[in-house]
Symmetry: C2
Subunit: 440 residues, 2 copies
């Protein structure tokens, strides 16, 4: 009894998936029960890294999701359409789905998961976040008895590579980005990576799974790393921090059924578990009651790691089909799903506006080099209930004094109103940088 | 339709498990379908941290594993007997097992897993390794399509705590151990922790699951941290290493169906992912094709983390029973098991003898302070095909010269025969320390 797989897309990840299925030796024997039945591609004549019989290649993607023989669809074509439409058709046809498409799931999980629930099929997406790092299934299965307090992570390899090189080489963002593009670590259009959109897709998915509820991706605030300069990297280092682009999702203390979900560059204490995650590596830190902190680390992208996650999802569906195939049904005849792996949302979450959050902040000011400036800044922060951890007059720069402030945990609204008042001060030349700091 | 749980043991982990089951709010809703039916304890009158109705407490453990109403047995009593006997009886009665008992599984997995296969029940043991860190299920489910090359980890919290304090305080092993015992981080009898037996149990279990075959625990060589002195910690630091007690399991390059499995203190390059895992934290690094390196990090012990793993296993069994309960059967009527979570071994592995392995070594020699000694040592290593990465004459100590050697990757047999020849040299006072070094 084998399981027939329809593959949508034969790019890097698709080819990696085929390669695993074609070399089952020393892997789990269940792999031999999976058979690639059809592969949908854009061009039949393109040269490929893997050898697939031409008889199973087709450019007619609809014929794959409508093929009654196929049990499981693997969607690794990317993009919103036609991926969304094809997946919904496949689900309506009772096929299970494995997808690596984070942008699609982040934006349309509601529609896709509802359809999957209605038709009694699985939609697994381990490959959508963290490449080969097991994190989606551990959240669903291994940490399912915890009350999750927070999920945060370095979930974009390109920006982590850029930030790591900026630290190691003391280089500026634009120079490293150009070199990363030349080396193939960054796309020609780097927007989704460096402006945080990719990380926002991923933290939305992680938040929804960790907290078991719907998260509106369009409300997730998102700040990239373009404004992180060499100066910030250097000051962070001096103050005992390292700067990482983090996706963060936390349960709100103040409002029920509310999450704080956002992406921004963050100063991390060097002793923090995420602080030593460098280069293209990703890591996700989950905090739960009673498990405490657990972290998952590995390569967040690439053909091999992503195909590892895709094929694991395939095997998990095959394993579940073996146990319950054609027998476990609900009263209306819909197949019964494993309640940990099924993806129906249990509730809807509100997203807390950024200005209601509490955080530590780092800010760098350029001011006239006059006595009393530190006092003025300190007083202004105090007037707005912003308590400071440190305020340091650093080097002079172009005749201006450079003052670096790190606050304690304060309300973002208070901090912003202090900044607004400081902006009006005669002694101020500019607010050169404002970044968030993770508390120890 | 609920699932009835019989709990064997109400110590720290048992109480933590009850606490999770009694507070299902904001955890996975499937928890509410689990019901603690009976709890086996040694004394009915003992004061406890959790409140359990006295009507379900019993000292008659056999009555629990023979209770026809119970679906799943949680064994958190520890020790080999009567745990083994009770588990086998429960399995024969068709009950699924969740256990945190690493010593029992390391030694008797063969018998227990065979019985489970015969009777069509699950034996889940996430809590046996790494406390609350999801590692067993990710190995079984999320990495199942990989060819695993190695699994290694810091899997004993007590020794990691001791080594971390030795580094931070420059203290000697015996002093830190005594303090750790006072603080409750080490047992009154610390043997299983500091001599590596606990870590050897755990790496045997990880190896068996990662490579999918039987591993004979009695052949796993095991060296603890008693011989790691302040000098070694300091020299390691100077050379760019940190010393950790690692459990390591690797596929042998030279012999088929052979694994190298052992526990020993190891010099790790400071840039290694495991090098920054400190205090009581554990971490397991898995390397597979094509996933590359993935690491799992968290608290390796304690009531909360361990109970998180126990209850996750309970939920996973409940979820599978919901999908396939009373329907998926083999031809002979035995229930069909999820092939990824079932624990039958697929093969038997030989364990490579230590002297056949290749490794980098660190050695510290005390010699007479004469010219030419470094040359003599270097020549002797060369004669035995042991290529050196560095040889440094360090400080003098009690009128003797202290020479520290780090080799390239060499055969352990060659290295040992060089040492045997060096031991006969007149200039040698003593070989103060020999440790293994992880290649970069």
């Amino acid at each position: 009894m084998g399981f027939k797989v329809g593959l949508l897309g034969l790019g890097t990840v698709g080819a990696g998936t085929v390669q695993i299925l074609q070399t089952p030796d020393q892997r789990h024997p269940l792999l031999t029960e999976l058979e690639i039945h059809k592969v949908g591609v854009r061009s039949l004549s393109k040269a490929r890294d893997v050898s697939v019989p031409s008889s199973i290649l087709t450019t007619d993607l609809a014929s794959i999701v409508n093929d009654p023989e196929i049990d499981i669809i693997v969607e690794v074509m990317g993009g919103i359409e036609p991926a969304r439409e094809l997946i919904l058709t496949a689900i309506a046809n009772g096929k299970h789905i494995v997808t690596a498409n984070k942008a699609l799931i982040a934006k349309h999980s509601d529609e896709i998961f509802s359809a999957a629930e209605k038709h009694g099929v699985y939609v697994l997406l381990e490959a959508a976040v963290g490449g080969g790092i097991p994190v989606i299934e551990p959240l669903k299965q291994s940490l399912c008895s915890n009350r999750i307090q927070s999920v945060m992570g370095i979930i974009n390899g390109t920006t982590n590579y850029i930030l790591t090189r900026m630290v190691n080489e003391g280089a500026e963002f634009a120079d490293v980005l150009a070199d990363a593009q030349r080396l193939g670590y960054a796309e020609a259009d780097p927007t989704a990576d460096v402006d945080g959109g990719d990380a926002a897709d991923k933290i939305s998915i992680l938040a929804a799974l960790a907290f078991g509820g719907r998260v509106d991706r369009s409300q997730v605030s998102c700040e990239g790393i373009r404004e992180v300069g060499r100066s910030e990297i250097a000051y962070a280092e001096k103050l005992g921090f390292v700067i990482k682009l983090l996706g963060i999702a936390e349960r709100s203390d103040s409002a029920p059924n509310t999450l704080a979900v956002r992406v921004h560059p963050t100063l991390l204490p060097k002793s923090h578990p995420l602080a030593n995650v460098n280069d293209v590596y990703n890591a996700i830190l989950v905090e739960g009651d009673p498990v405490g902190q657990v972290m998952f680390f590995g390569r967040g992208a690439g053909a091999g790691p992503t195909a590892s996650a895709v094929t694991a999802d395939l095997l998990n569906i095959a394993a579940l089909l073996k146990v319950g195939r054609d027998c476990a049904k609900q009263a209306d005849g819909t197949p019964l799903l494993d309640p940990l792996l099924a993806c129906a949302y249990r509730q809807e979450f509100a997203i807390a506006p950024l200005e209601t959050l509490e955080s530590k902040f780092y800010a760098r000011f350029l001011t006239q080099d006059l006595p009393g400036v530190i006092g003025k800044l300190g007083t202004c922060f105090g007037d707005h209930h912003v308590s400071l951890e440190s305020i340091v007059q650093a080097d002079k720069r172009d005749g201006l004094a450079e003052i670096v402030v790190v606050t304690h945990v304060v309300k973002e609204g208070d901090f912003r109103s202090a900044l607004a008042e400081i902006e009006q001060m005669n002694v101020l030349s500019s607010i050169a940088s404002v970044l968030r700091v993770l508390p120890t």
